[in-house]
């Protein structure tokens, strides 16, 4: 459950930016999470529900944009953009090779008031 601490960090960052913008509450937090980041979005959502109380985001919703990682099959050459890491080609079951991208772990934007 290392997502709990990542969410704690994200909430602190969100509060800092909200306060800098002169806001008193956060209604929405948007994150970008890459498939290659090693972080599980469902676990972030669980952590958010637990941790948002006592913060400016107490009544906020969480939006996670999942950023895919590109894979190329070492057998048939097919390109796949996958939101979860796997190494079996969807086309031929050959071994997939991970490409670039999908390492994102970013606080994207907030809705505040």
């Amino acid at each position: 459950m290392h997502e709990i601490s990542i969410m704690q960090n994200a909430l602190e960052l969100a509060e800092k930016h909200a306060l800098s913008a002169g806001a008193t509450s956060i209604s929405s937090i948007s994150l970008r999470v890459g498939a290659g980041s090693g972080v599980v979005p469902e676990a972030l959502e669980f952590a958010f529900g637990v941790l948002k109380k006592q913060t400016l985001a107490a009544s906020a919703s969480l939006h996670i944009e999942r950023v895919p990682t590109e894979f190329r099959c070492s057998h048939c050459g097919a390109l796949s953009h996958l939101h979860e890491i796997r190494f079996d080609c969807p086309e031929c079951n050959g071994l997939l090779i991970m490409g670039d991208g999908g390492n994102d772990l970013e606080l994207s934007h907030l809705e505040v008031s």
Binding site: L31, G36, M98
Partner: protein
């Protein structure tokens, strides 16, 4: 608390500078000519802080333009006029952040990278499971590379200074970081440790991370290259089980190769799986015990250290791949003074 896995308080680590043990050749060490009696003091066995001239304080807080978010936040305000048929909160607006969640660590890592670049030092971050042979590899590397790549070492463990003690007589300055309960090194710990290292005439900084294949993947330390170790007893599919850490590797070392036959490892399958996760990484089979592969490893380090070593990674920590920037062999040596 650890930013990543909640494993402990990242501010409660301890830094232990290592001096060479008594009775060892002091040629590579230092002396204290300024004692009151004018005598040069013998080497002693307790930690103290080295003094040296800083080109730049590694941990000093200051803001560079490049540290600022590329997309500064801005506000949307309702300054237009239109008829209202209902009431709502006019102050509602979007704040664009576009900032890595681990931005504070990334910022400190950039500072470390600049500090090391200014001194012409090539830094590697060695990560692996516990027991893959990091310390043995480093000890052998210090012995064999002393002539071509004089090194300094930062060692990270949860507890004990045992690893630093194992390394301190190899002719290189060593600092131990004990992290307490924290399962990885971060950029702030490395920054603090750098203050305690005598980096004079050093060209290589070896950072031995805490043995862990998960959390260290998220923390850029300011290194030029990540080196991942996997020993022959760990199984062919480990790279597929822990892709984030292997993915950022410039070099993957398959260690304890002298035990390969006994382990029953399918080397071709392991290499295939490393390639699937880290297609651009160099793969070397080594044995710190027999010395097999060590020459190739050190030559690769030497060649990499001559390339521009501190380009900031575009995404994620330490994604500079071995084999990049082969054409420019000059800029790193220019930084050496």
């Amino acid at each position: 608390m650890c930013d990543n896995c909640g494993c402990g308080d990242v501010d409660s680590f301890t830094i232990i500078p290592m001096l060479k043990s008594a009775g060892i050749d002091t040629a590579a060490g230092h002396s204290h000519p300024s004692h009151a009696d004018g005598a040069t003091a013998a080497h002693h066995d307790y930690p103290h802080q080295y003094t040296y001239n800083h080109l730049r304080e590694p941990q000093r807080e200051h803001v560079h333009a490049e540290d600022l978010s590329p997309e500064p936040r801005h506000e949307h305000v309702h300054d237009h006029d239109h008829p209202h048929t209902h009431s709502h909160d006019h102050s509602h607006r979007t704040v664009r952040v576009h900032t890595p969640i681990l931005e504070e660590n990334d910022r400190r890592a950039r500072h470390n990278r600049r500090f090391l670049k200014a001194r012409g030092i090539f830094a590697i971050n060695i990560v692996s499971s516990p027991g893959s042979g990091k310390t043995s590899l480093i000890a052998r590397t210090l012995e064999k590379a002393a002539g071509v790549l004089p090194a300094a070492v930062i060692v990270g463990d949860l507890e004990t200074a045992n690893d630093a003690i194992r390394l301190r007589d190899k002719g290189a300055p060593v600092v131990q970081i004990t992290t307490g309960t924290v399962c990885h090194l971060d950029a702030a710990m490395v920054s603090r440790a750098l203050k305690h290292l005598d980096l004079e005439d050093r060209r290589l900084l070896i950072i031995e991370n805490v043995g862990n294949l998960v959390c260290p993947a998220s923390y850029d330390l300011g290194e030029a290259m990540r080196v991942v170790l996997i020993s022959v007893t760990e199984g062919e599919d480990k790279p597929l089980k822990y892709p984030p850490i292997f993915r950022g590797a410039g070099i993957v070392l398959i260690t304890k190769i002298d035990m390969c036959a006994a382990s029953g490892l399918d080397m071709q399958e392991l290499r295939r799986n490393i390639r699937a996760v880290a297609p651009a990484a160099e793969i070397i089979e080594v044995s710190a015990r027999t010395g097999e592969g060590m020459d190739e490893w050190i030559e690769l380090l030497r060649a990499a250290s001559c390339r521009p070593s501190n380009a900031s990674p575009n995404s994620g920590p330490s994604f500079q791949k071995s084999g990049q920037n082969d054409s420019d062999h000059s800029s790193h040596s220019h930084a050496v003074s």
